[in-house]
């Protein structure tokens, strides 16, 4: 490196102070994109998983299709949908892609969670006079909840990381700052601060969801 090259440290508080508005805005956009995508994915995957659970023949095709979707690289997926005018360079393009990726993990874990409910448990609930719906809501779903929540955690953490690919369509949350830092003469402080924030956001979501799982399943706590 040349001696007269200006200093380009990986981290400075000065950067954080000078750019707190940009950082805040990017962080909020990032959270918004993540939460919206995961919520939509949950809403779609829930009936899908229930259908696959009721009609076993459906589970092969549904899981197969979502599996193929998962093999498609994110950059290619955005390249498929962004050119169409309904999507374009907008947030909905990013959300659409993220929802597709979250689906596989969610459907799979919901399905496996339901399928792994012990037959004895189902049997005794039926013996107590539970109908199909009450069995589902009062017995099967609560028993499957830890597996379902594990899926939500994995989907959320991967979604946080994937949002950054949204830079392709100009809506990458913190990814925008990563790219701006790169284009701005390799502004290291900007690149690293935004990257660290992204990882921290993912881990924070994971911790929050882990805590929520504990609260929702008090009966499983004595495991340890």
């Amino acid at each position: 490196m040349a001696a007269d090259e200006p200093a380009n440290p990986w981290f400075t508080w000065q950067y954080v102070k000078d750019n707190s508005d940009d950082l805040k805005h990017a962080l909020i956009t990032h959270i918004e994109l993540t939460v919206v995508s995961v919520l939509i994915a949950i809403v779609i995957s829930f009936p899908l998983a229930l259908l696959c659970y009721r009609y076993r023949r459906l589970s092969g095709p549904v899981l197969g299709l979502t599996g193929v979707l998962y093999t498609i690289p994110s950059i290619a997926l955005f390249a498929f949908i962004a050119p169409f005018p309904v999507f374009g360079l907008r947030k909905r393009t990013v959300v659409f892609g993220l929802v597709l990726y979250a689906l596989l993990v969610l459907v799979r874990n919901m399905l496996v969670g339901l399928q792994n409910v012990p037959e004895d448990v189902r049997e005794s609930a039926r013996g107590m006079g539970y109908g199909r719906n009450r069995l589902l809501w009062k017995v099967e779903l609560p028993v499957a909840l830890p597996t379902i929540m594990a899926g939500v955690r994995v989907a959320t953490v991967s979604t946080v990381a994937l949002v950054t690919v949204g830079v392709l369509v100009g809506e990458g949350g913190l990814g925008q700052l990563i790219l701006r830092g790169f284009n701005n003469n390799f502004y290291r402080a900007e690149i690293l601060t935004a990257s660290v924030l992204t990882v921290a956001l993912g881990l924070t979501f994971d911790l929050l969801l882990a805590g929520a799982t504990r609260l929702m399943t008090p009966w499983s706590r004595r495991r340890t």
Binding site: Y70, P73, F80, P83, G151, S158, A161, G181, F186, R188
Partner: protein, 255 residues
């Protein structure tokens, strides 16, 4: 559909198949970057995983690596390496992607070694084989199917992610998409998407064949059976490594 037609026209244009930004050269560059990324990733992950698996240590460590790597955006790592002294370009891309190849290689190799029937290892010891002989002549051959699964997962993931390198000055087929976005050339964007997705699917298919070939018939059935239940691993937050297979890994990290 007009747009799709235009994209096919783009793919049919001989001009797009020539020179340093032509499809053949970019495909070659894409595969070259991916190959060396997996190669260097394996160089780090394999010996470590063999040692950890053989000694039975580090189960929590491999789980932690996998979980943390899930939270790290590929784009961030690609950009960070491009901003180091390595400089942007294919070398930085290879290093960044090698880092991402490590978790699936590490986990699968580790599990492969751990899952070798303890009786077999015991018998080998009883026959007087030394520790390294047990590892190299008993555990390693028996772990080949899972190692192959790990290589497949890592390779597919690297090929998929290599497309992103173009955003931060790297090469490969992602360049077509990135340039397309830069020029607002929608047919080119779509054409690039078709090429990148096609390459990922072809690599996935080829490596699935290889994996099938190196998996003995008896275990093929086992792998299929596990395929149905392996989401258990996702479902178990305590991270029982015993259930992890390639599918679980793929489910988590590919895009």
């Amino acid at each position: 559909m007009n747009l799709l037609n235009d994209a096919l026209l783009w793919l049919n244009d001989p001009l797009n198949w020539q020179g340093p930004k032509g499809v053949p050269h970019l495909t070659y560059e894409h595969l070259y970057i991916s190959f060396f990324a997996v190669f260097f990733g394996a160089l780090v992950a394999m010996p470590l995983a063999l040692w950890l698996g053989h000694t039975g240590r580090g189960g929590g460590f491999t789980v932690a690596i996998t979980n943390v790597s899930r939270a790290i955006p590929t784009l961030a790592l690609l950009t960070i390496f491009a901003a180091t002294a390595i400089g942007f370009g294919n070398r930085a891309t290879i290093v960044a992607l090698a880092v991402f190849a490590i978790p699936p290689l590490l986990t699968n190799t580790y599990v492969g070694i751990r899952e070798v029937d303890p009786d077999v290892v015991e018998a080998a010891r009883g026959m007087g084989l030394s520790g390294s002989a047990v590892l190299l002549r008993v555990e390693l051959p028996l772990a080949v199917p899972l190692i192959a699964a790990g290589v497949r997962t890592a390779a597919v993931q690297v090929v998929a992610t290599a497309g992103l390198a173009a955003i931060v000055g790297g090469g490969g087929l992602g360049v077509i998409i990135n340039d397309g976005f830069g020029q607002q050339d929608r047919p080119q964007i779509l054409a690039g998407g078709i090429l990148v997705a096609g390459l990922a699917l072809v690599v996935e298919g080829l490596l699935a064949l290889v994996q099938h070939r190196v998996t003995p018939g008896r275990d093929r059935g086992r792998l299929l059976r596990r395929r149905r239940t392996d989401a258990d691993a996702l479902g178990d937050p305590s991270g029982d490594l015993g259930h992890r297979t390639d599918d679980e890994e793929r489910a988590v990290t590919v895009p």
